[in-house]
């Protein structure tokens, strides 16, 4: 069943790539409309300051300036604060503490890059020139930059004492403490999860258009979730009523989380377009992206893992201080809590786990979800401390993991940190990875490296993630402001082609290909006859977008439900046309067949009949188009084993990643080519975190890594040829049996690489990124000690 070349499971080349690689994509900045003006933002050069005065007099006189608008103008028009979509309940039962987040700063600026005014001009050059002429007088305030001391520093937001958004906990503290006290061995570890700055190829951009005749607002923007942006801008920010606001996210060049959020700039653009009666366009330059896109990670963690005499984990206790930046971004609160603490069981049967997280404000850019969002941080804690526990107790790191793994017969498995894992086979992916890594041959390879002046190390990460966000009832009970179902529509056109509408958004994931595979497979129509439409609130009923590796598991499932509704309606029509009853009609491979007969008709013929209903069932509506909402029962739990092998140059401290194995269980796979591509990209990002990338501020809150010369992204020659394989335990609760593959690469790899680096160096920890300088200093320290 299904077409082996284009159906589910086939390695179909991504159809969207043709336009991307030939420069024919249509991104927000490519869209030009008559009369559009250009916006440039005036940003704070200070990390923390009071705005004394914004003097626009000189800038306003520059010919070609249309307007210069400030936060006060915005407030006067009733534009509200940008909300955080997830309320975290503190351990004392109170709500988290959220400061106002005006789209353009009013009164105070709270990080370098905080927008304070927008200049709109006839040309981009004029707007830039005028932005430099806007004289803002600031009264500097003491900045809070250091995460470790932020809770005992000056208050950033009035009334938010200790700069604390929340103190949150999960798990049984007493039981965990008791188990640790009785443990035969306790491994302790202090970890830094380095701040990362997303760098999508396409920077953020927005084009706001207001039609005074109809009152309609149209915002073209780089969004991963246009419907959610519309909901927030309408319901919370008061930009326009939902039915008068259309958000279109056309081709978007990468998101990695940073384009989930509703930011001040895009909000300003659509408001300014109405106020000025002119279309307004803004495209961030790379410097602005560094300053003002939400950053990722940035945790300080202390962890303790207790083991019994046989090496079984008895308890894990984790305390984390998470940097939230200057304001609470759209999903920021959930990332270090529900997407982090809940994952600390990893793949193991640890009976007692307790985690406490302090979410802390600092005068730095807001921190929010970045590829993996909480799960790479959790995996880093679990897999680094497990590795150290193996070393400290003289056990093989792979075997210690195996001993503690949740076994296939344990599923469904209730963890001590709220989640119920539905299925998995962790040992299977571990074994496959050990085989692909030639683990037995490692000691020989290590000898060879040593002979060449290089230290070789090997590191494991057996990760788990919770994807397929999310069961709405559960998410809402935990503080989510929206449900996390997905919607889809499958529409037969009269001539038999199919248009598929999905509420998810593709910005590099390849949905136009994989979703077409799913629908063409289900309906038995040619792949080429299926078109996937996404990213437009004017064409798609509703949706919650793409993040958290949810699109196929939730959005794809919605399409399956819609396709099944189409098939069922078609069955009524086919039965009528073949003069039989619906239960006598089977559907297979795109055709309705009458049982015990050779009569059949294709679903495309049925579709035509539905639009030309001359001979048609009584009381049945014409047309063949169905919508469905799919709300998952549970998260999905992709898991796998990543193994990294590194060589460290004794003389220079350069770490070379010489081998990387990823064996992942993503459930059923729709398109292995796309899956491998996602894993490759994710691993590259994770290796970047481990070896190259860190977002750094100086003590006054100036961003020191604000260019690609200072912020080191991985390049092709930093990476080996990855070895990627998959094992399959189908998800038990969605119709496709899929789990999601978008983030896994970035989740497992940092821990695997750092386990390899610390193995090579013989140290318990080294803070990421393991740059040559840091490694060389460690090597020198060891030489001096010896």
């Amino acid at each position: 069943m299904g077409n082996p070349v284009t159906g589910i499971g086939a390695a179909v080349v991504r159809r969207e790539d043709a336009r991307f690689i030939t420069g024919a994509g249509r991104y927000t900045d490519d869209i030009r409309v008559e009369g559009q003006a250009y916006a440039v933002f005036v940003r704070s050069p200070y990390a923390h300051a009071r705005i004394v005065e914004i003097d626009c007099a000189q800038a306003s006189e520059i010919p070609g300036v249309v307007a210069i608008l400030t936060g006060d103008d915005m407030q006067a028009d009733g534009i509200g604060s940008l909300p955080c979509g997830w309320n975290v309940t503190q351990k004392d039962g109170t709500d988290m503490r959220v400061p106002p987040h005006p789209p353009l700063a009013t009164g105070h600026v709270n990080y370098v890059g905080d927008p304070v005014a927008v200049v709109v001009a006839e040309s981009l050059e004029t707007a830039r020139q005028a932005a430099e002429a806007v004289a803002v007088e600031f009264d500097e305030l003491p900045p809070v930059v250091d995460l470790a001391t932020a809770q005992v520093s000056a208050e950033i937001h009035a009334g938010i004492t200790h700069n604390l958004a929340y103190e949150w906990e999960l798990g049984d503290r007493e039981a965990t403490d008791a188990a640790l006290a009785g443990a035969a061995h306790v491994t302790r570890l202090d970890l830094v999860n380095n701040r990362l700055i997303p760098n999508a190829m396409e920077p953020r951009a927005a084009l706001g258009i207001h039609d005074a005749a109809t009152g309609e607002h149209t915002l073209y923007t780089t969004s991963q979730n246009p419907h959610l942006a519309r909901l927030i801008l309408s319901a919370f920010v008061n930009v326009a009523p939902e039915h008068k606001l259309r958000i279109i996210a056309p081709d978007v060049g990468g998101g990695f989380g940073s384009k989930i959020f509703v930011y001040g700039e895009e909000t300003t653009v659509i408001w300014a377009a109405r106020r000025l009666r002119r279309p307004v366009k803004w495209t961030a330059d790379r410097s602005e992206s560094f300053l003002a896109d939400a950053h990722g990670r940035d945790h300080l963690t202390h962890a303790e893992l207790g083991l019994d005499a046989e090496g079984r984990f008895v308890a894990l206790k984790v305390h984390t201080v998470a940097n939230l930046g200057a304001y609470l971004s759209t999903f920021a609160s959930a990332v270090p809590t529900y997407l982090y603490g809940t994952l600390l069981a990893g793949q193991y049967r640890t009976p007692c786990i307790h985690v406490e997280v302090h979410g802390v404000y600092t005068n730095t850019a807001p921190v929010d979800a970045y590829r993996g969002a909480g799960r790479p941080e959790a995996t880093y804690v679990v897999e680094r401390i497990v590795e150290n526990a193996a070393r400290e107790t003289g056990r093989d790191p792979a075997e210690l993991r195996r001993l503690n793994m949740i076994r296939p017969e344990d599923f469904p498995y209730q963890t001590p940190v709220a989640l119920v894992y539905d299925t998995g086979n962790y040992e299977q992916s571990l074994d496959r990875a050990l085989e692909l890594a030639d683990y037995r041959g490692f000691s020989e390879r290590r000898r060879q490296s040593a002979a060449n002046g290089r230290r070789r190390g090997i590191g494991f990460a057996c990760y788990i993630e919770a994807c397929g966000l999310a069961p709405s009832r559960l998410a809402i009970s935990l503080g989510a402001g929206v449900g996390l179902y997905e919607s889809g529509e499958v529409r037969f056109n009269p001539t038999g082609s199919v248009t598929v509408f999905t509420g998810t958004h593709s910005h590099g994931q390849g949905h136009e290909t994989t979703f077409a595979q799913v629908v063409s497979h289900r309906l038995g129509v040619p792949f080429e006859a299926v078109e996937v439409v996404h990213g437009d609130t004017g064409r798609i009923e509703f949706g919650l977008g793409t993040y958290g590796s949810r699109s196929l598991a939730v959005g794809g499932s919605a399409l399956v439900l819609a396709a099944d509704k189409v098939i069922e309606k078609g069955r009524l029509i086919a039965a009528h046309l073949m003069e039989s009853s619906p239960d006598n009609v089977d559907f297979e491979d795109g055709a309705y067949r009458l049982k015990d007969s050779n009569r059949s008709m294709t679903i495309q013929e049925v579709a035509f009949a539905s639009y030309v209903p001359g001979n048609y069932p009584d009381g049945l509506e014409p047309g063949l188009s169905e919508k469905a909402f799919y709300d998952p029962e549970n998260f999905t739990y992709p898991a796998g084993t990543h193994i990294a092998e590194v060589e460290v140059d004794e003389q220079t401290g350069v770490v070379s990643l010489v081998n990387f194995i990823a064996v992942d269980d993503f459930g059923r796979i729709v398109n292995p080519l796309v899956v491998h591509g996602q894993v490759h990209g994710g691993v590259a990002q994770g290796v970047g975190q481990a070896l190259l990338e860190v977002g750094r501020y100086d003590a006054t809150g100036q961003l020191l890594t604000g260019t690609m010369m200072d912020y080191c992204l991985p390049r092709a020659d930093d990476l080996p040829d990855f070895v990627v394989d998959t094992t399959v335990t189908p998800c038990t609760h969605n119709p496709l049996g899929v789990k999601g593959c978008g983030e896994a690469g970035a989740i497992g790899s940092p821990a695997a690489v750092m386990n390899a680096v610390t193995d090579a160096l013989g140290v318990p920890d080294l803070a990421m990124p393991a740059t040559p300088e840091k490694v060389w200093r460690e090597l020198r320290r060891q030489r001096e000690q010896a």
């Binding site: 940003r43 050069p45 410097s287 100086d698 006054t700 100036q702 604000g706 260019t707």
Partner: protein, 192 residues
């Protein structure tokens, strides 16, 4: 950032002090200096237009003189605001000491911080660029001083010192402080 430097100038201290106070000698050190304004004995404002790479900006320089001990040392505390381009602030201490062969050892210490776009794109280059500019400045300063007026071989009377003092009294000396400090601060600014 913090930086220290030391230059040996083949002229006696008094002459070096005098030269540091001579606008003629120092003229041209800052291109684009549009105006200077003396607020009082120890506070000065200047406005300098500079274009660096893709950014052209007007920098407002505010200076405060402290601890002026002619002809030995001085300290300047300053703030440079460049609007959208960012800002710099810091202080410079310059000391003159008599050195061998009637020369003068000039040592300087600069402590400065930069912010905004300057910091974002310039931090990596600041140290090297500041040092380079200071080197160039003093190299030129030394060559201006040395060949034209060789140090007296004997009989080092008080005349140069008196002349220096006179000049200090008479010249619009505050401009000199602006120039000196601007060399350091603009070095940071221009570094990017």
């Amino acid at each position: 950032m913090e930086q220290q430097g030391e230059y040996l100038i083949p002229a006696p201290k008094a002459r070096v002090w005098a030269a540091l106070n001579d606008p003629q000698v120092l003229a041209g050190c800052i291109q684009g200096c549009q105006e200077m304004q003396r607020l009082d004995d120890s506070h000065f404002d200047a406005r300098v237009k500079a274009r660096v790479g893709p950014v052209s900006a007007t920098f407002d320089v505010a200076l405060e003189l402290q601890d002026v001990r002619a002809p030995d040392s001085y300290r300047i505390v300053g703030n440079v605001k460049g609007g959208a381009a960012g800002f710099a602030r810091g202080e410079a201490v310059v000391k003159l000491d008599a050195a061998e062969a009637d020369g003068t050892r000039l040592t300087y210490t600069v402590e400065a911080a930069i912010g905004g776009k300057l910091a974002q794109v310039g931090s990596r280059l600041i140290d090297a660029a500041t040092r380079k500019m200071a080197d160039e400045f003093f190299a030129q300063f030394r060559s201006t001083l040395a060949p034209a007026s060789p140090p007296p071989l004997e009989n080092t009377d008080d005349a140069p010192v008196e002349r220096a003092d006179r000049q200090y009294e008479g010249a619009p000396h505050w401009k000199i402080w602006v120039v000196i400090f601007a060399v350091f601060l603009l070095a940071m600014v221009l570094a990017y």
